[in-house]
């Protein structure tokens, strides 16, 4: 990406300076100019420059070689190209000795200068790529890997920072694909437990007995197939954090076991008689409405209160669309090299299409869409056509299939429930969306006996 590289042209002659700068800008570089050696030395600290073109003979006390020597102190990584109209062996030797990368005599062939610049930039790109990859390795699960500039998310980040070193349980709620696990990781890796294990368990993926054994471990012979003793995830997470995803799906028996661990920090392995004590922070997540499940009696209220000490609600992507351009660019930057594609950017029209889409699958769906577009894209820019697969599903064109046996009252109930969920129980916001006044909404909530949240 040439536009990421800054070049400075230093020459006292305006036509020379501006024409070379313009020529380099046509190639995509960001070019600044300086009218003298002194001017260049003053401007140089303001940015990171990849290349300096410095005219050898300049009036004003500081000539090209002196300018280069000062610049090299400020930017030891930068390449300096000394430019002169009159080549002598002596000046060339001096320039190279003092650290000039190249020495060119003007006027020079366009091809020569193109090759020279592209060769230097190629090396700079490799060096930068290397640095980025190194940073990525250390930042993989860093808190800042969550990309967002939305105020709701920024509030969550600040809450995460505040609670990261506490032992209190955290309940993360949000639709599928909003990044619940990333927030859990952020809490763990930004707190005191960062050096200890972070253990992840998806509660919906396993049957009750398997999940029990997975969480608490088992003794040899405790059930058919238990050929050896096995430590559970709670033991493995000792000193660290256990993240229980889809907690709303666990059985009544496991709810009780979990409640005991939370209360006493102790448990038995399946088939075990020895009580095991652990120091584990519990973070749970669900895309279900647990408060509603408590009301319906499918989730223990005492466990709910234990889990819900700190509550984090992650907004769906449709409520923070300002993040879409940022996320798309992050995905392009990461996925492009992963799938070996030279895709560098997204067109304005394509971005508009993504902004108009509702993203029911949230950030995960956006990431998958960008990946699919990159894989099938035949050029460097993602266009509207590359996202044509979204058109058939966009909210504007989506066909609304109403079940045959649905009554108007049921339909009304459904719409109000969904809107209240989206607004997290905010009556004013929900009534605005629904286009009815607040008192009418209250009447409907009472009539249908709906939970406000």
């Amino acid at each position: 990406m040439k536009s990421h590289w800054n070049i400075m042209v230093v020459d006292d002659e305006e036509v020379m300076r501006e024409s070379l700068a313009a020529w380099l800008r046509e190639d995509g570089y960001v070019v600044d100019t300086a009218v003298s050696g002194k001017d260049a030395i003053e401007k140089a600290p303001q940015k990171e420059y990849a290349i300096f073109f410095i005219d050898l003979k300049m009036p004003g006390g500081v000539d090209g070689i002196e300018t280069m020597m000062e610049i090299r102190k400020l930017h030891p990584e930068a390449s300096v190209i000394i430019v002169t109209a009159y080549a002598t062996v002596d000046t060339a030797i001096t320039a190279m000795k003092e650290g000039a990368q190249e020495y060119i005599v003007k006027p020079c062939n366009p091809e020569e200068i193109s090759l020279l610049v592209s060769r230097i930039i190629k090396i700079k790109n490799l060096q930068r790529e290397n640095t980025i990859l190194r940073k990525k390795l250390t930042k993989q699960y860093n808190f800042y890997d969550i990309v967002s500039k939305s105020s709701k998310m920024v509030d969550i980040f600040s809450l995460v920072k505040q609670i990261s070193s506490l032992r209190s349980t955290v309940l993360i709620q949000g639709e599928s694909g909003t990044g619940k696990e990333l927030i859990a990781r952020a809490i763990h890796f930004s707190g005191d437990r960062a050096g200890k294990p972070f253990v992840c368990v998806s509660c919906a993926a396993l049957t009750e007995s398997l999940l029990e054994s997975e969480l608490f471990g088992h003794e040899k012979g405790s059930f058919t197939g238990a050929n050896s003793q096995k430590k559970g995830k709670f033991e493995l997470a000792d000193g660290g954090t256990i993240f229980l995803d889809e907690i709303g799906d666990i059985s009544a028996k496991l709810q009780m076991n979990l409640l005991r661990v939370l209360q006493e920090r102790k448990f038995f392995r399946v088939g075990g008689i020895e009580e095991i004590e652990v120091d584990v922070r519990v973070i749970t997540a669900t895309n279900k409405n647990l408060a509603q499940a408590v009301k319906e009696g499918t989730f223990r209220d005492d466990l709910f209160y234990r889990l819900n000490v700190i509550n984090i609600q992650i907004p769906p992507l449709r409520d923070r669309k300002e993040d879409i351009p940022l996320l798309v660019n992050t995905f392009i930057e990461r996925i492009g090299p992963e799938v070996g594609k030279e895709v560098k950017e997204i067109s304005e029209c394509a971005l508009k299409l993504l902004l108009n889409y509702d993203w029911p699958g949230n950030v995960r769906q956006l990431e998958n869409a960008v990946e699919r577009a990159i894989v099938t894209c035949k050029s460097r820019i993602l266009s509207e056509e590359d996202f044509s697969f979204l058109n058939s599903k966009s909210s504007e064109t989506q066909e609304w299939n109403i079940p045959h046996d649905m009554t108007l009252e049921q339909l009304e109930n459904q719409i109000i429930t969904t809107t209240l969920q989206r607004t997290h129980g905010n009556i004013k916001e929900a009534s605005t969306i629904l286009g009815i006044d607040r008192s009418t909404l209250y009447d409907r909530i009472k009539k249908f006996n709906l939970p406000r949240n």
Binding site: S19, E26, N109, I113, S114, C349
Partner: protein, 196 residues
Amino acid sequence: MSSLYILPIGEVYAEILKNLEIGLWETLGFDIAYLPKMEQTDFALDKTRSQFSSTLILKEMMKRIPHDAVRVLGITENDLFIPMLSFVFGHAQVSGKLALISTARLRQEFYQLPKNDELLFLRTVKEALHELGHTFGLLHCADTTCAMSLSNGIQQVDFKKDDYCRDCRILFNESSKNYKMNGVANFKMSSEKLKL
């Protein structure tokens, strides 16, 4: 209605202008109009190099931009240079209003080869598209068949097409949409008409 203006700088072969007009109209989709010829060009002549400074010509062109101009394309038969380089095929203001091309090195005769007008006309359109592309914010393209690819020699000019690649076309369309009355695709003419 806004137009893309062609500004002849000094004497320019009429057939070149006619072919350029059609080529630009066909590929870019703008109305094409002419500005009166710039008679005096001596101010830009560097006697020691026997070449004309593209920077000084662009400065002079600045004074002649009509208010309804989409862009102004200067065309000269004189050889152009910038001080750093031995020559340039053209020069433009990136995301500006002005572009300038020279036909001097697009002629076969410059390379001691027999005259070939068809080839000259085609090369002129390619270079005009290249420099005008810069005025719409397009930068050099890595696709060597795209009109926006960098040409340091005549072989590279001949290798590229007289149109933008898919990516540059997307960027061009987005950047020029405010000036367009119709989509560029509607402007495609038959190749027979182009040949005249």
